[in-house]
């Protein structure tokens, strides 16, 4: 595997109607690494991460300029269903479906055409194991996903994303609705997952970014409230020796 990213954006801008949310972002997401996107609220972190699997398409007034490549191919020339299978997503608040634990994880493989019962069971088990949830739920697979705690629900959502065998997992503030213990579990899990997957995480928590990520992208709004990429680089360098003054200001807490 080369260091060349599985995903990159080239001069990518995003508009909601007349409002420009992202301005000319160019960034390479390294393969099998954890990349954190940080910045103050409203800087376009979520907009950027939702661009990689075209979730912004759901907003009827959104419009893009520039390019995003996944596996070297423009995401807008790929089939969106196939793209989203390749680029999975975990959301801010745990969002299991109102179904059983098993049905939640089996949902993805089922829609992608796997009918065989034993095969499904194997996928479900592996995914839940990979999400470090197996020991807690293995006897309750038939129970409603809502019977789990918040942290468990979020790991279930990770298992659900893993079940369709993605290459990339996008995590939009995956721990913001969780308590510290559950957060720690998710962070440990990410460390494990990066061996197999490329991970992008949005976080407003700089300690978390420093703890878990290998690379960091720092976004900040300009005078027109559009998000710009200020700096991108290895996390250690960025946190110890930032190039840009604004990065330093943010990291040392001057933006709040």
């Amino acid at each position: 595997m080369t260091k060349e990213g599985v995903m990159k954006t080239i001069d990518y801008s995003l508009y909601y109607g007349d409002f420009k949310a992202l301005n000319g972002i160019t960034v390479n997401i390294p393969i099998n690494r954890i990349t954190a996107i940080i910045g103050p609220s409203g800087c376009g972190k979520s907009s950027l991460i939702r661009s990689f699997n075209r979730m912004n398409d759901l907003m009827s007034n959104s419009r893009t300029e520039g390019t995003i490549l996944v596996d070297g191919e423009d995401i807008y020339s790929q089939d969106v269903v196939r793209l989203r299978k390749k680029v999975g997503m975990v959301f801010q608040r745990p969002n299991p479906f109102p179904k059983s634990i098993f049905a939640n994880v089996a949902y993805g493989p089922r829609i992608h055409g796997i009918r065989d019962k034993s095969k499904l069971a194997a996928i479900v088990e592996n995914s839940i194991r990979d999400a470090a949830l197996w020991d807690e739920v293995k006897d309750d697979l038939g129970k409603s996903a809502f019977s789990l705690s918040g942290g468990q629900q979020q790991r279930l959502c990770i298992a659900r994303a893993l079940a369709v065998e993605p290459e990339v997992i996008l995590m939009d503030e995956p721990a913001s609705a969780l308590d510290p213990v559950a957060t720690l579990k998710i962070e440990e899990l990410m460390e494990k997952l990066k061996r197999k997957y490329t991970i992008v995480i949005v976080t407003h928590n700089m300690q978390q970014a420093a703890r878990v990520s290998d690379f960091t992208a720092f976004l900040l709004t300009d005078s027109e409230r559009a998000g710009n990429l200020i700096e991108f680089g290895p996390t250690i360098e960025m946190f110890t020796n930032p190039v840009d003054n604004r990065t330093e200001d943010y990291i040392s807490g001057r933006f709040g």
């Binding site: 089939d79 269903v81 196939r82 829609i111």
Partner: protein, 281 residues
């Protein structure tokens, strides 16, 4: 993959089709009635009363008068009652301390919900038993209006509630903070800002009375003469359509009357739509 896309396209086409069909049905019903009906309509149609008997001849002047008479009478009964009830349910009901009154509030809400689901023929039956026969009001505008009040009260209560809930709490707090009493606050601050919302409810109710037939079929009597007092019998335009179609089989005149009726309803709907759009803007 292609199979999944095809499935989606098939399903979406079915949805498109059902929606298109629904709109077509709407256009067809309204279009047919209006186009067929308008051939019969001239100024005379509006200005002469039905000739009565089995002829089906004549115009609809007396039925217009009866409709207006009935709508006004019903609203005179229903509006104060419905608006007051709505005010109570929004402004007072939630901070009542007495257990007994709390129970009454539960009953009151239950009453509104129940009333909204009662079929109109039951209102008719009730009106017939109480107003027409027991109270000896006979088949009259009065009996019909009282029965009609039961029909529209839940409509007025609900729209009043909606309108009052939409008034920001800060208005109330500001007024109360200046030492205004509760009722003063409602009368001078809350009601004026909710008045457009409340009036859509009243227009909606007028529409319900204009469209209703079953209740008035058993309480209004159906005389084609112009009503002169609350105790007169009469027939509304809707009722006239029924008599023309069912008793004299004068379909042409029935369609003409129905066209006027439909146009009126379209107009009322338009008013409500514009007002509520203006409210939410």
């Amino acid at each position: 993959m292609i199979q999944r896309k095809i499935k989606q396209n098939l399903a979406f086409s079915a949805m498109w089709l059902s929606c298109g069909l629904t709109v077509l049905i709407m256009l067809f019903v309204i279009g047919y009635v209006i186009i067929k009906g308008f051939g019969q309509i001239d100024l005379e149609f509006f200005l002469t009363p039905p000739r009565g008997g089995l002829s089906g001849e004549g115009g609809i002047s007396s039925t217009i008068v009866a409709t207006v008479y009935l709508v006004i009478t019903t609203l005179v009964f229903a509006t104060p009652l419905g608006v007051s009830a709505g005010i109570f349910l929004v402004e007072y009901a939630d901070n009542i301390k007495s257990r007994f009154v709390q129970k009454l509030v539960v009953f009151a809400r239950f009453g509104v919900e129940t009333l909204a689901g009662v079929p109109s023929i039951i209102f008719g039956l009730f009106g017939y038993a109480l107003f027409v026969t027991s109270l000896h009001f006979g088949f009259s505008i009065l009996s019909a209006a009282l029965a009609g009040t039961c029909l529209v009260i839940p409509v007025i209560i609900r729209t009043t509630e909606e309108a009052l809930k939409a008034v920001p709490n800060s208005y109330r707090e500001a007024s109360l903070a200046m030492g205004a009493g509760k009722w003063e606050t409602i009368w001078k601050v809350v009601l004026p800002s909710a008045i457009t919302g409340i009036s859509t409810g009243i227009v909606l109710s007028a529409g319900r009375i204009v469209s209703e037939t079953a209740i008035f079929y058993v309480t209004l009597g159906g005389s084609y003469r112009t009503p002169t007092s609350l105790m007169s019998s009469g027939r509304t335009m809707a009722l006239h359509v029924y008599y023309l179609a069912m008793e004299t089989r004068a379909f042409d005149k029935a369609l003409a009357t129905a066209a006027v009726l439909v146009l009126l309803i379209v107009l009322l709907n338009l008013v409500i739509n514009i007002v509520s759009r203006w409210l939410s803007a």
